[in-house]
Amino acid sequence: MKPIVRIFFIGLMFFSIAGCAPSAKQDTSAIHVWHWMSDREEAFNELASLYEKETGQKIKLELFAPSEAYSQRVKASAQTGTLPDIYGVLGEKRDFASFIRSGYIANLSTALEEVSDGSTWRGTLFDKALAVNEFEPGNEFGIEPGTYGIPLDVTTIQMVYNKSLYEKAGLDPSKPPRTWEEFIGHASILKEAGIPRLVGGFGEIWMLDALASNLAMNLMGEEKVFDTYRGKIPYTDPDWVRVLTYFKQMADEKVFVEGAVTMVNKTAEQTFANERAAYAFNGSWCVNVYKGMNPSLKYEAMLPPAVTDAHPMRIWGAAGGSFVVNAKSLNRDAAIAFLKWLTSEKQQAYLAEKTENLPSNKRSMGKISPLLASFADDMELATHPNLYPVHEDPSVMETFDKGIQSILIGEKKPEEVAADVQRVKEKVEAKRRAA
């Protein structure tokens, strides 16, 4: 090696070692925040420096993305007691409960009752958004009742339809289908006009789960669904088979866009934005996505078509993301104060405007675009697995959702899938009884 090169490398080595002095111990002068929301990084940074200007309190934001990497980091840090003052927990309610049980998350119930501006903190936020972070008395996880997280925004998941394509097919663009029959009817008219119909990120199986549970709750009512989760009603029940049969019907009528079964949602969004599908099943974040890809897209939100009127149609809707406070944080009160500030009317309006998400603060709702607001007006119909009193085992869910995929590709019949799901359910139940 040439001497120059050698010196260069030695220098590099030295530099790398020198950079290794153990980094300063968690300085308590700043509030440390970890998040995964890369699309909001800029807005968060902006708000953090504003907060420092207003109060003198320093905020240190750290982004870990994508969300899988973030989850890993949080789980790993939990094991070493190095969680920051404020962070978020991704995943199901079960995971959330586990974090709380291990003492990583503070109960914020008392703080939420504090009154300022003539209202409690709780009173300013959407109940549905708060509810995902709540544990009711007597909850199945044995967690002390209370609210453990502060919602940053609200998301609902429903359907959208393309008005121009409706017009093109000779359908009334102001009348989206309300019932299942109408939906299938419109779909066949669209089909004749050569317009592809429904798209969605159904490769991400939770989206199939959402659509299926919308239909199930509409068909048999919430309680029967929960009783199935409790193991009191089998998945081979005619109602469940009927839910699966709706998917069979959609497959037979070729309602789904080709390939939607394994599509990731971002591809599905491209498809709808470029007017290659008349309907999409998507979350309220889509307003922002479609705006970027096709500003002239004419579309509107609609509820998934109702299969009966015996029970209300329930859609998924809840907090999009929430922050929790580290129970062991030395900055607990300061952290809570920051969250309060962050979810106050002004900051929420700023975030809603900057990132086009539905704000979690009711008072900020007036400042959002009408299209986005149309996603919010069905909030009273919203529910979410994290709000359910009981939770289905993930392996049962997966068998159910994968089963729907099999139906959609014409591989299995609804009855077969129902039997498959029930078999897994019984195995899980047997295990639970044994434990």
């Binding site: 899988e68 974090f99 199986i205 080709e258 390939g259 599509m263 290659r276 997966e398 591989e411």
Partner: protein, 295 residues
Amino acid sequence: MTFQSFRKVTGSYLFIAPAVLLFATFSLYPFLKVFQLSVTDWDGISNSMHYVGLENFKDLWTDNPVFWGSMKNAFYVTFIALTIQNFLALFLALLCDREIKGGNIYRVIFYLPPVLSGIVVGLIWNWIYDGNYGLLNHLLQFIGLGDLQRAWLSDAKTALFSVAVIHMWKGFGWGFVILLAGLQSIPRELYEAAKVDGANTWVVFKNVTVPLMIPVFILVSILTILGTMQIFDIIIATTGGGPGYHTEVPITRIVATMIGSSKFGYACAMGVTFGLILLAISMIQIRVSKMMKQV
């Protein structure tokens, strides 16, 4: 033991000391931890866990058809990669080993696919395979094979093979580079000598190239097996394991169990089982290679 031989032995260990030290710190400890967790019911979060003995393994080995199905899928892709991909890599390496105009350019180009991250690969192949607007369907239409058109990634018959094609496209450059380096290490004099003896290209290949390349072939095939069995990114970027379980592979199952179902202990049992299978395959490979070398 004389001082000389003592020095010689310790000297040998000095050569491997840094590697062993790093390995002991950063691999052994996590390995052991995973073994330890595989006999617990830990959820990956909680600060408490229970010892469950071989419960996880018992369930995995006797009552988890989905996992073994995913293993079958991985074997299928591996088989395709071992044959088609490696054959292509070897063929290209042989072509580029010759004195060929623009050889340098080809060598660089063939190793380009791996430089692109999973997201680009996913985007572009999703588009190629798309059922309505896909490039592949357009192409088939163009050459008059319109009947074959389909949504390639969500058709049970084609999904796994389509994924395998992406994997091969991304991976043949690896094999190509190693094989080319191997070919380049063969002293040119051997070829000259064979040519002087009047051997034709095929005979030279069979009698000079292949015997000298056997260790490299073994290397490439083991790397192909290990790399392909652990396929993951491409699946996530394209099919997510669907439709149904048609493109599930062991790593997607492990991740789904660990993150999706929060059964960390069980996922570790899956990891250990999968690792042992790969270890067994590699051992057999190495055995076979030793036998072949002696022949």
